[in-house]
């Protein structure tokens, strides 16, 4: 009897395609008036010997039906979900909705890179005014009025005593005036020169650096700047120091790196020399230390400066400096 019922249930189960039909089928067998339930009710009519045996068989049947239903329910649930998901399919090849990420200006990217390197070397960061007194921009840096060294920098004047700073070097003296050695800082910022062509813009960025302590040597200057070049351009890039002249340092040096565009073989950018000038540096002139209120007999120091645009142009192979300030999105979006 129960075997027949199970077979008939299995046959019915084959025809079920929805969860609703499954529920109906389950009710048909196990519901209050279901066939299995009715069977259970007939147990009372059996003899005491037959009853346990028959009861066990019916219960087994009930459990079998329940377990089969459960399995079917899982199967149908999955089927229905799969159907719904299929109907919800979207065109995954349409472009995504972006917020359109903004692009960083290449100068500030490079500037931050330079700052990071010096901060890792233990330098702090200082600032000074961009509209500066002639005193700090020239006089205190050992560039008196009527000195030909003033020709090295075409100056924007605000008045006889006020200029747009032509370099970040005035920050050296301003910091020396308010802090005592040891000093070890960089001063990044905007500087201005009255000049405009393919390789000059009237405003550009420099990073100045100053180290002053009791035993600072020219050898230390080389150590710090070689370390910078290797971190900035790669450890394989050659560096050379050539004697030069800046009124505020003595001895002064110009720092060249092996041309990174042609691997120092010679190209248009390095004018065939294989070398690119990237920095100026030197031991701080004793007169400048004195201007800053520091005893040049007790302390020595070195200073350096570099143009951020120059490095940016080398890094991104930009051949016209003016592009950096036109702010054309066709340019800016490339970075």
């Amino acid at each position: 009897m129960s075997e027949d019922l199970k077979a008939s249930y299995l046959a019915d189960l084959q025809t079920v395609t929805t969860l609703q039909e499954l529920a109906q089928l389950k009710a048909k067998y196990l519901g209050k008036k279901g066939v299995v339930t009715l069977q259970l009710k007939t147990l009372g009519a059996l003899s005491a010997e037959e009853r346990p045996h028959a009861g066990k068989r019916i219960n087994e049947l009930k459990e079998a039906i329940e377990s089969l239903s459960e399995a079917k329910e899982v199967e149908l649930t999955h089927q229905e979900l799969a159907k719904r998901l299929a109907s919800e399919s979207i065109d995954i090849t349409l472009p995504g909705k972006t917020t359109g990420i903004g692009r960083a200006h290449p100068i500030s990217t490079v500037l931050n890179e330079i700052i990071d390197i010096f901060v890792r070397l233990g330098f702090s960061v200082e600032e000074g005014p961009e509209v500066e007194l002639d005193h700090y921009n020239f006089e205190a840096l050992n560039i008196p009025k009527d000195h030909p060294a003033r020709d090295m920098q075409d100056t924007f004047y605000v008045s006889d005593d006020v200029v747009l700073r032509t370099h970040t070097s005035p920050v050296q003296v301003r910091v020396m005036e308010r802090q005592k050695p040891p000093l070890r800082f960089i001063a990044p910022g905007k500087v201005y020169r009255c000049d405009a062509d393919v390789s000059h813009t009237p405003m550009f960025h420099q990073v100045e650096g100053l180290v002053v302590d009791t035993h600072i040597t020219f050898s230390n200057l080389k150590g710090v700047l070689v370390s910078f070049v290797h971190q900035m351009f790669g450890p394989q890039v050659p560096v050379r120091f050539r004697p030069s002249f800046f009124p505020f340092t003595e001895p002064s040096a110009e720092i060249d790196i092996g041309c990174i565009l042609c691997d120092a073989k010679g190209c248009r950018v390095c004018k065939g020399s294989g070398w690119l000038e990237v920095m100026g540096a030197g031991m701080v002139n004793p007169k400048v230390l004195e201007f800053g209120g520091i005893d040049p007999e007790l302390y020595t120091g070195f200073a350096f400066g570099m143009g951020v645009e120059r490095i940016t142009m080398l890094k991104y192979r930009i051949d016209d400096i003016r592009l950096l300030f036109e702010n054309d999105l066709r340019f800016l979006r490339q970075f």
Binding site: K97, T99, T217, F218, R242, S252, K271, N327
Partner: protein, 696 residues
């Protein structure tokens, strides 16, 4: 300075190739910027730094070459044979501070004509045009010795006399006098400018340019050659004020060799005699201010201390050997250097140390990182704190889709005019540049907006229909009674959006888009207490703009650009949406939240209630939020507006504002009844204060 290799070789023995020599010179501080092959010669383009005017000549470079190779310079053979005739000529130096020495020679019966080919070629290699044999000789000797000479037509010099003095000294002049230089320009000579005069009139601007009247011409038969030492500062001031820069002034203002000037004069006289077939007469030489070398004491220990070397005493002296320095008083600890007259750049011990380093070779000094104490002060500098704020805001704006721009700090009057500022507005009184390069860069920015508007015009013209820009830089505000303006760090941002068809709909008003980016920044930097009030900026839409306030101070503005401003931009777009932001970072910096203190996380569940109030359309929604937040109950955890609706169903001049309140107690689970009571009280409080009614 252009140096022909073959000319150089006349004075010093060189065994290396031009390329090798160029490298040696470059590494010794005379950067050879280019090598140009001309026939069998090579011309070096040498970059001579302003401290070494002695090397603006063939002989100067020859001296350096000799020092580098350990050889000696051979000077040109000067076989002077003067005619033993009594000289009928006088020289007076009236301002000896400005002219320390003045010498001259007379060459009679010259034949003016072209100079020989070899001389013309050499001049040409150095970039000087040939004029005639006499003038060419003065230029030739200028290049060879580095000392400027001037040739006068002797017969044009009244009274056969030369006087050296300023108009103030010679005439007692108090006003400028007129003088025509040989370029034909009449110039106004200030009373303190040094002139060369004959017996009657001025004949040259000393050390700068001769006069047209006494110039050597084809008709000249007798010449007077001048060789003098002028004060560098005086020459520079005159040259600058006259706007007249010549080969002569370039050298005089850097300082010339007071000794070699005599040799240069002899060389020129001899060459003129040879090439123009004249006869030479005796020399005049007035030298009222004798130059003497300033002794510089040098300590061996200091040399090694500055350079980071451990050179032996003999090695140090060896480095200086080739430089024609007089070295005296050599002891165990140091020595005294007397520099020659062509090295006026050497005045201090460190100048000698530089020479030692240069000749020892920078390449031979090993790099070594310094050993230093850590800084005195571990606190961040103000600059560092500002830098961190700027970096944080930069990241936030980049992430929010704003592209970074960098503009010049100066703008034009027209840029400021665009903003329609009142005449008395301080932003119209920016710092002005005396010598701007162009009209659109005459004044330092007093606000950032004009630059971003320029960027907008550029990019709209390029067909961009949607973009977001930002910039961080300083503005410059004039200060009463101060020489320097106040420099404040600022951030400015701009959204530009035309109505374009887009795949994905997002009709958020751009004001809120920008404000959202700003609020994210404030959240990120833990700035609290920011409020917004309507802005009165004349360049903003009065109904869609706000001043950003913190602790009663305005730290910025945000808003839709006024149609009056937009129309004047003449961009070809139908009512684009343009929103701008300016934020004063210097004012914001003190409000940056310092440290974060953890608060315990609530353990009990929250309960939410939503309510919509119908209020006057003009009511500012922030009032509802403020009322909820300030309601005296510590169970109100959060509130937010989630819908604002205007339409017929809420009545004319009204709007519905729907807000959500989240309640939570820190010590127990709230019951619905408790929350209902509290929420009812809250809503009645808000309704009463706003005149609102619960929307059914």
């Amino acid at each position: 300075m252009r140096i022909p290799y073959l000319w150089l070789k006349e004075f010093v023995t060189i065994t290396e190739t031009p390329e090798q020599l160029a490298h040696r010179l470059t590494m010794a501080g005379f950067e050879v910027e280019a090598l140009e092959r001309i026939g069998d010669d090579t011309v070096f383009e040498v970059n001579v730094t302003p401290n070494r005017p002695d090397c603006l000549s063939i002989i100067g470079i020859a001296r350096e070459v000799a020092a580098l190779y350990g050889t000696k310079v051979t000077f040109p053979d000067l076989n002077i044979v003067s005619e033993p005739k009594e000289l009928d000529f006088n020289i007076d130096i009236l301002d000896s501070d400005l002219c320390n020495r003045y010498a001259g020679r007379i060459v009679h019966a010259v034949t003016i004509g072209p100079s020989p080919d070899w001389m013309q070629e050499r001049l040409e290699k150095c970039g000087i045009r040939s004029i005639n044999n006499v003038v060419d000789v003065t230029n030739y000797v200028l290049l060879e010795f580095g000392h400027p000479l001037h040739a006068f037509d002797l017969n044009k010099l009244h009274d056969h006399r030369i006087r050296v003095g300023t108009p103030a000294t010679v005439l007692g002049a108090k006003e400028p006098i007129a003088f025509t230089t040989l370029d034909g320009v009449e110039r106004r000579i200030a009373p303190d400018m040094l002139l060369i005069w004959d017996g009657k009139v001025p004949v040259a601007v000393a050390g700068v340019m001769g006069g047209s009247d006494s110039e050597v011409s084809d008709a000249t038969t007798d010449v007077f050659i001048e060789s003098a030492y002028f004060d560098p500062g005086s020459i520079r001031r005159t040259s600058k004020r006259l706007g007249l820069k010549t080969e002569a002034s370039y050298r005089f203002e850097r300082g010339t060799d007071i000794k070699i000037m005599k040799k240069a004069l002899d060389r020129a006289a001899q060459l003129i005699k040879e090439l123009a077939h004249g006869s030479m007469y005796g020399k005049l030489d007035i030298y009222p201010k004798r130059w003497c070398s300033t002794p510089i004491p040098v300590r061996y220990a200091r040399v090694n201390q500055v350079l980071g070397l451990s050179l032996a005493n003999a090695q140090i002296l060896d480095c200086l050997k080739g430089l024609e320095l007089e070295i005296t008083e050599v002891t165990d600890t140091g020595f005294v250097v007397k520099p020659p007259p062509f090295r006026r750049d050497m005045t201090m011990e460190v100048d000698v140390i530089e020479e030692i380093a240069r000749l020892f070779g920078f390449d031979n000094i090993a790099p070594e990182l310094p050993r230093m104490r850590l800084g005195n002060d571990d606190a961040l500098t103000d600059a560092q704190r500002m830098m961190r704020l700027k970096q944080k805001l930069r990241s936030a704006f980049l992430a929010a889709g704003y592209t970074e721009t960098i503009n010049y700090s100066f703008i034009g009057e027209a840029d400021i005019d665009r903003l329609r500022l009142a005449a008395s507005d301080i932003r119209r009184a920016g710092v002005r540049i005396q010598n701007p390069l162009s009209e659109d860069g005459t004044v330092m920015r007093t606000c950032m907006l004009p630059s971003l508007i320029r960027n907008l015009i550029t990019n709209v013209a390029q067909g961009n229909r949607e973009f977001q820009l930002f910039e961080q830089a300083r503005i410059f505000l004039p200060r009463e009674g101060e020489q320097l303006p106040e420099e404040r760090e600022c951030l400015a941002a701009l959204i530009y959006r035309e109505k374009v068809k887009s795949l994905y709909r997002d009709d958020t008003h751009d004001f809120y888009r920008m404000k959202g980016a700003l609020e994210d920044c404030f959240a990120d930097t833990r700035v609290a207490g920011v409020t917004y009030r309507r802005s009165a900026e004349p360049y903003l839409h009065p109904g869609q703009s706000a001043d950003i306030m913190i602790a009663g101070t305005r730290i910025g503005t945000i808003g839709v650009l006024s149609p009056l401003v937009v129309n004047a931009l003449e961009i070809k777009a139908q009512r684009p949406s343009i929103v701008v932001l300016e934020l004063d970072l210097s004012a914001l910096l003190p409000h940056i939240g310092a440290s974060v203190h953890y608060r315990s996380i609530a353990r009990f569940p929250f309960v939410e209630r939503d309510t919509a109030l119908v209020v006057d359309a003009a009511l500012e929604s922030s009032m509802i939020l403020d009322l909820v937040r300030s309601f005296p109950s510590d169970m109100i955890e959060e509130t937010a507006i989630f819908d604002v609706y205007q339409g017929a169903s809420v009545g004319n001049g009204k709007k519905s504002v729907a807000f959500n309140v989240r309640y939570r107690a820190s010590d127990r689970t709230l019951t619905d009844d408790e929350v209902d009571t509290l929420h009812a009280a809250l809503v009645s409080h808000v309704s009463e204060k706003t005149g609102g009614q619960i929307r059914q």
